[in-house]
């Protein structure tokens, strides 16, 4: 099978009669900003959930929306949701489509509400250290705008070039520098959103009485509202960065060193501890950027012969995960990457203090190179999935979080549970005083496309089951979508009634992104 499968538009079901009526009504209000074209609907049918990529490789299309609308203002968002509500049409808020959990699959059709035209970024308030931005702005554009004003948001998810502020809010995103700046929910001062009632909701800024309404909306993945704007905390652009890498004799010593750094009041911007297998892979990267040639411009050798070879080889490697996982379990040494940033003298002192702590915890100083290398290649991970898919395999990631006392147990149990299904590696990042996130990467291959999909589902059941039984939450920053919906309901227990109550309150007709979060 060719890695670039053609998809027949004949597979795309026609829009429903209600949707066509809505498209007509919306088209009159927003000429040129409403589409029922098949290629638009196919484009908005999915995010980067690897399961969708497996489907596409099979020539299958995830369920598409009936139409796509591009509002420009909050008032238009409210009008569109109002029209959808009148007609009983689902609304799927859509940012840049970089989610990895199927959060935008239009399982009941409806309107894909692309918010990227809401892209205004205000001026930084230098006293309050805040900025207001609309939800459709692409992350990298927002950060660059802030940099030009002399500030940083400090939010650098690996999807920063292809994710929006609204997507970050909807999925409780975390950036690579969350150790210093926090997750997006730590940065939010207030939000504006349009609920499933079609009403604009503005959350208050401190000081306010009562519960924090913003925290009830963040992470709702479009099931309660569409975010239109947020006020965010910003920081002066860092004057200096300090880099340092350490090797530890095993995972346990590395984890303990990170925990100790936090106990001693240090807040590196970046903390990434790679498990032995991940260390071996990270150690091989040279930090040099090789321009990738677009598939259509590749030579016949690169376009056909190399992928053919890889497709034959991959089942013999990724297809035998149990054996290779056992081999990699013999590896021990772990790499810790630290980056400090901020004011010059403070940063230097923090880095010196961290060096002392890591040495005390048995770490060997690897100098600046590993951390600098990481910084140079930090967004490359987003582009590594395609080669695996081209080679006939699949890859995915699972990020969970727990407290320090359970971290090693979660690590070992997930590895053990996944070992029969996929290659597994892990890094520990997004650290807090009380715990951290564990970020597992899986890669597998072998068998027919249907068998691969079955393997994909089995590995996720095994991985999530192991993580939850060891005490981890089902997601630290990717969100839930369709992928983890069942696991979320299991995690919530009776608390699911509270979530369902929020749904009834903000979206009484159940039109907002149905099926996600188990709602």
């Amino acid at each position: 099978m060719s890695p670039l499968t053609s998809i027949s538009t004949r597979q795309v079901p026609p829009p429903s009669a209600r949707a066509i009526e809505a498209a007509d009504a919306l088209g009159q209000r927003y000429p040129g900003r409403v589409s029922t074209r098949e290629y638009d609907r196919i484009s908005y049918a999915r995010d980067l959930w690897p399961k969708a990529l497996l489907w596409i490789r099979q020539g299958r299309i995830p369920p598409p929306p009936d139409l796509v609308v591009w509002p420009k203002t909050e008032a238009e968002v409210a009008q569109i949701i109002g029209i959808a509500r009148e007609r009983g049409l689902p609304v799927i808020p859509y940012g840049a489509g970089s989610g990895v959990c199927g959060g935008v699959w239009a399982i009941h059709g409806g309107i894909a509400l692309d918010l990227k035209k809401l892209e205004r970024v205000g001026a930084v308030d230098p006293d309050a250290l805040t900025v207001e931005a609309e939800s459709g702005v692409i992350g990298e554009v927002l950060e660059r705008n802030l940099n030009q004003q002399g500030y940083t948001l400090g939010h650098f998810p690996s999807s920063i070039y292809m994710s929006t502020l609204g997507g970050w809010l909807a999925a409780r995103s975390a950036g690579q520098l969350s150790n210093k700046y926090g997750k997006i929910e730590d940065m939010v001062r207030s939000v504006r959103a349009v609920t499933g009632r079609g009403e604009v909701l503005a959350t208050p800024e401190r000081p306010f009485s009562g519960p924090d309404l913003a925290q009830l909306l963040l992470g709702s993945e479009g099931t309660l509202c569409a975010f239109t704007q947020a006020k965010l905390a910003v920081h002066p652009y860092p004057e200096h960065r300090a880099f340092r890498g350490f090797k530890f004799k095993d995972v346990a010593h590395g984890v303990e060193a990170v925990r100790q750094l936090y106990r001693e009041g240090l807040r590196p911007a970046v903390v990434r501890l790679y498990d032995p297998f991940d260390t071996a892979i990270v150690g091989r990267s040279h930090g040099e950027h090789h321009a990738r040639t677009a598939p259509s411009l590749r030579t016949a050798f690169r376009a056909d012969v190399v992928p053919q070879l890889l497709r034959q080889l991959t089942p013999r490697t990724l297809g035998k995960p149990r054996f290779f996982n056992r081999v990699t379990s013999l590896m021990r040494s772990c790499l810790l990457v630290l980056v400090f940033e901020g004011e010059l003298r403070r940063t230097q002192r923090e880095e010196e203090a961290a060096r002392e702590t890591c040495r005390r915890m048995g770490g060997s100083d690897e100098g600046e190179a590993p951390a600098r290398r990481w910084m140079e290649t930090r967004y490359d991970v987003s582009f590594k999935m395609s080669p695996v898919l081209d080679a006939g395999g699949f890859a995915d990631t699972m990020e969970v979080a727990t407290t320090w006392d359970k971290v090693l147990d979660v690590y070992h149990r997930v590895r053990e549970a996944v070992a029969p299904w996929a290659f597994v590696l892990c890094h520990f990042s997004h650290a807090y005083v009380e715990g951290c996130s564990l970020y597992f990467s899986f890669a597998a291959s072998g068998g027919s496309e249907a068998e691969q999909e079955a393997r994909y589902d089995a590995l996720w059941r095994a991985a999530l089951g192991a993580a939850m039984s060891a005490g981890a939450t089902v997601s630290h920053h990717h969100g839930v979508g369709l992928l983890k919906a069942k696991a979320l309901l299991e995690e919530l227990g009776d608390g699911r009634r509270v979530l369902q109550g929020l749904k009834r309150a903000f979206d009484p007709d159940g039109i907002m992104n149905p099926g996600k979060l188990g709602l």
């Binding site: 700046y181 208050p204 401190r206 001693e264 407290t403 005083v433 509270v498």
Partner: protein, 338 residues
Amino acid sequence: MNDALKLALEGQLGPRFRLLPDGRAWLAPAGDAELRMVVTQFHRFGEPLFAHAELYRAALGGIGRVEPASGVVEADAGVTLAAIDRAAEPHGLTVGALSPKAYALELAAFLEGPYQGLRPVLGGRLEPVCLALEAVLPDGIPFASKPSPRSAAGPDLDALILGGEGRFGWVSRATLRLLPRPELTRRVVYSFPDGALLARAARRLLSAGCHVRCAWAQQRGGRALLELELGGNAECIERDLSTCSNETAEAGGRASGQVLDDAPTGEERELSWPEVVRELELGGRVALFRLSTEAVVAIGAARGRRLVNGQAWASAGAWEVLAATLGGPASAPSGVGE
């Protein structure tokens, strides 16, 4: 309050039920099961518990073992923050830099009430002191969240209970995240041309990650004075002093040898930084706690949000809808939308 409900509660609680002079009930459940029973009875009779009763949870008074690696501890609703802090001390941990009144509160009151369960953390941010909650929902069903440093598993449902004054759930127990207890503290005084520059410097040094435990501010001789109490190990304090001196200079301030007047007294209020500036401009002096770049808890302020239950909530419409859909009281909460 419904007579039948009074009879039912009296029958089941005995001396742990009393009627107060204002007609409300005083209820002191002996444990989790009785707390659930009380909430269920109110729900059955369609009466909003928060409006008709004072729920006294001192009998829920246990503190669990401090888990030393993660620095977390489970505590029951009736334990004071001060008691939890004392339990954390031998492990070199603390509940955080809170205001005097917050330390004196029972955990349930701290979490459900106007303090919203918040404490300051590095970077000028606030975070809930609880990692996870156990509570009884308005219909008597228990609720428990999963302890995790952060999560993207849907919205933060604990947020409904924090600051909710019992309208959406009553806390029975919580897992609390503790912070390293400072080994040393050090005070330092800076002088600024005016209150606005003082506030700018304060926010910037909080944003930079300084460990400020509390502060005092006042206007004197045409200048605004700020005294900071820094906490941490010796290295932390040295780093913070260096940052403080930079940020202060950036805002036109300088170190000062002046001694501030005695700490102000009075009730605690939550103030935005512009409100702090206004206090100083009007000649006030304030003690500042729970400092973040967003807001502070102050003693000595004449303005700002009073930290007492029953204040009007913002976004009133949203809360009315939520109260109606979450098994809460049949009528809209009395304090909402005032």
